[in-house]
Homo-oligomer: 435 residues x 2
């Protein structure tokens, strides 16, 4: 067993990870704009010992109107309000490097890091959806290469701004008229790059954890490189243990290539838990969540979505799952299916129970789900998971009630929050002096 | 006496309105980044029955290092955290139309309006400081005319986005697969203007007060026009009653010209209170706050700052105060001095006690301060004030303890918060159906 703990983050978007989650029994469908809903979810997550809550984001109203709106309240605003109410837990805030300006975003995240006592994690995304681009100008969505070049420069600038003004708690000057800061403690960054020209310094001092953590979900070569260079936390769609190990090694290789300690990031792939009293009940719930009356309907829909022949018990070949290097949408979900069937022998019937909405599905009794969670972690393949409950708050409540105690009994998850900042919690290096 | 109440907002930037306020006795100088400091201030403001707290903003570290940093934590983030902790009170959030994008800002403010239960007021500024421009690109600060054209288009777009998605609390669809919204309830805005191309709709539904309120501090012709067209609350530097009446009538005229009811905005000029047990003590405190040992030093510094001859008891002529229509900095502070000496006969000795940091100074015992506050309001010249305590929390505590009870006893200010949204509190028209 690893000497360090298991790290669990939890996705808290909208009414849940699942498109049909708005119809959960006993919960108002429009709870996706209710602060009390998110407060209940965050308090559940804290009771469960989760390291952080996570909001993915797209600044556009999705077109699929029969699904719950996955992205509505702004992550920075919603998590700031939650940080003021819920102690201890961290906040993974998604914000686009394509549709923000570095000074504003660096300042807003640094402000929340002060207010929350060092609980901010910025999830950098470059935004792949043309519907987003249409809310930010007349031009088309830039290509992947340009978006990733901008993302890399954006992160560099934000990190420079976060370390540009030392002034933290310290002695006051002796008298009026003496400076509260000097050129040595508040330094312009004078950045001039391909995308940004920014003088600085930031008008917010260095915060309680030096600077906020950075999360990244790179799956393309450019994304993995960005994660290797900058990410403290890595989120990814990894469906099989061998594929996960290979991915981890790729990020480590890119980290080393950028001169970082290859162990200085934490890998927390997505995980969708469906927990029930029996395996049969969990299988039925999986079908129901997807709006299907039985397994056959589920398998047919899965085959249709991925362009597979409907032959439930024939072995699937990896060639059936092809991602294009220049595709506009995220590469990760297609690639993870490819990598899973390349490393395990699976039929359609089996594959359809290994993935839900793109992420790893773990399905069964609480004991079976806990064992699948512990398996990869014990082997050192992952540091933990980003749990995506299909419906909120229902599936999170079940998970905290039934699975968390098993993870604690196994010695993987401690009760309480002994460390105050997320940097300390994830045992990550401290690059800056703190106040 | 007016049938409606007196509205008081309060400025809560940093350690106080005054540059030397970091040195207040018994308070840590670096409280400008302490959430607990702002929480104490907001709770004091709520106890005093203030309608809203207000943060001005510049996204740049100021150059005057011997003064407290006036702008550090981001107003949107700080007020979101406070909204989650302090009930009832409203939040005037300054955000620049020159250095934000309309979709992000509309969404963030709408998100907070949901979370806070309709307590958001957006203070639109166009940003006049070249130090800000240098944090947002290589280009120079655009001229006033261009910034105001952008501001007007920005506000139009934000209002359109705020009313683009009807969906609020309502019945759920009958079954899975039915739409949660339609083209009739979520409408693209398809805006194409000089500065912005934005499709929409917003991904946040209409909120509890229809849309957030808009505040504006226009002093130039373009600023007054923008206030007349869009502002629900108007903040301005108005130093004399006759000048204030003239300004109010100008905004009313511009509102009518834009087809609005001329009574559909509330005028809340700035007001700096210095309250002491005796008038003499208040005069000495005014000198001390400004770092001067006596009145003569105060008068000399005032004369130097405004380029006036040092002749304490000679009557000042309005020609001494000239603002240029194309000046880069704010026109309001120079114009308000001009208008005051044009409508009242004042010497340097008198003028230096009528203004502090650009806004109207009211100085004396609690009774004298309360009377000056009530005077303009009783005459219908203003709807209230934006109080700027010289030091925080000290001067706000004094004001709430000594002045607020007198305003309540006069029947001007009610105890408690009978209305839940700021739109209701300010008795402003409701332009949209609410959920």
């Amino acid at each position: 067993m690893p000497s360090r703990g298991l790290f669990l983050n939890v996705g808290v978007n909208s009414t849940g990870y699942h498109g049909n989650s708005w119809l959960a029994p006993g919960a108002a469908w429009d709870r996706f704009v209710s602060f009390d809903h998110y407060l209940e979810v965050a308090e559940l997550a804290r009771a469960g010992g989760f390291a952080a809550v996570f909001l993915s984001d797209h600044p556009a109203l999705q077109r699929a109107a029969e699904s719950r709106p996955l992205h509505s309240l702004d992550p920075l605003v919603l998590f700031t309000a939650l940080a003021a109410r819920v102690p201890d837990i961290g906040f993974v805030i998604t914000a686009s490097s394509s549709y923000n300006s570095p000074y504003n975003l660096a300042r807003r995240l640094a402000s929340l890091d002060h207010i929350s006592g060092g609980r901010v994690i910025w999830n950098v995304v470059s935004s792949f959806n043309p519907d987003i681009a249409a809310n930010f100008g007349a031009g088309p969505l830039p290509g992947r290469a340009q978006r990733y070049r901008r993302a890399a420069e954006f992160v560099e600038v934000v990190k420079a701004l976060w370390s540009s003004w030392d002034r933290t708690a310290g002695p006051a000057p002796e008298a009026l008229g003496e400076p509260l800061w000097t050129d040595a403690t508040a330094r312009p960054i004078d950045h001039h790059g391909e995308f940004f020209d920014i003088r600085g310094p930031l008008n917010v001092p260095i915060g309680p954890q030096g600077r906020p953590l950075i999360a990244q979900a790179g799956a393309s070569a450019a994304g993995i490189d960005l994660a290797g260079e900058h990410a403290d936390l890595v989120y990814a769609a990894l469906l099989g243990k061998d594929a996960a190990r290979a991915y981890r090694d790729q990020v480590r290789e890119r980290a080393a290539a950028h001169g970082r300690d290859p162990s200085s990031f934490r890998l927390l792939p997505g995980l969708v838990p469906i927990v029930a009293d029996t395996t049969e009940q969990a299988l039925r719930r999986h079908e129901q969540l997807n709006g299907h009356p039985d397994e056959t309907a589920l398998l047919r829909a899965f085959a249709d979505r991925h362009g597979l022949p409907f032959d439930p018990d024939a072995v699937l070949l990896p060639e059936l799952f092809v991602s294009e290097a220049d595709q506009q949408g995220p590469i990760g979900f297609t690639r993870s299916l490819h990598d899973l069937v390349a490393t395990e022998t699976l039929t359609l019937r089996q594959l359809a129970r290994r993935v839900d909405g793109g992420h790893r599905l773990v399905l069964g009794t609480a004991e079976a789900v806990a064992e699948q969670i512990l398996d990869w972690w014990r082997d050192g393949v992952v540091d933990g998971y980003t749990v995506q409950p299909p419906t909120l708050p229902h599936d999170l409540r079940t998970f905290v009630r039934d699975v968390i105690p098993l993870l604690r009994a196994a010695g993987a998850l401690s009760a309480g929050y002994p460390e105050s900042t997320v940097r300390q919690r994830f045992a990550l290096p401290q690059p800056l002096p703190v106040g």
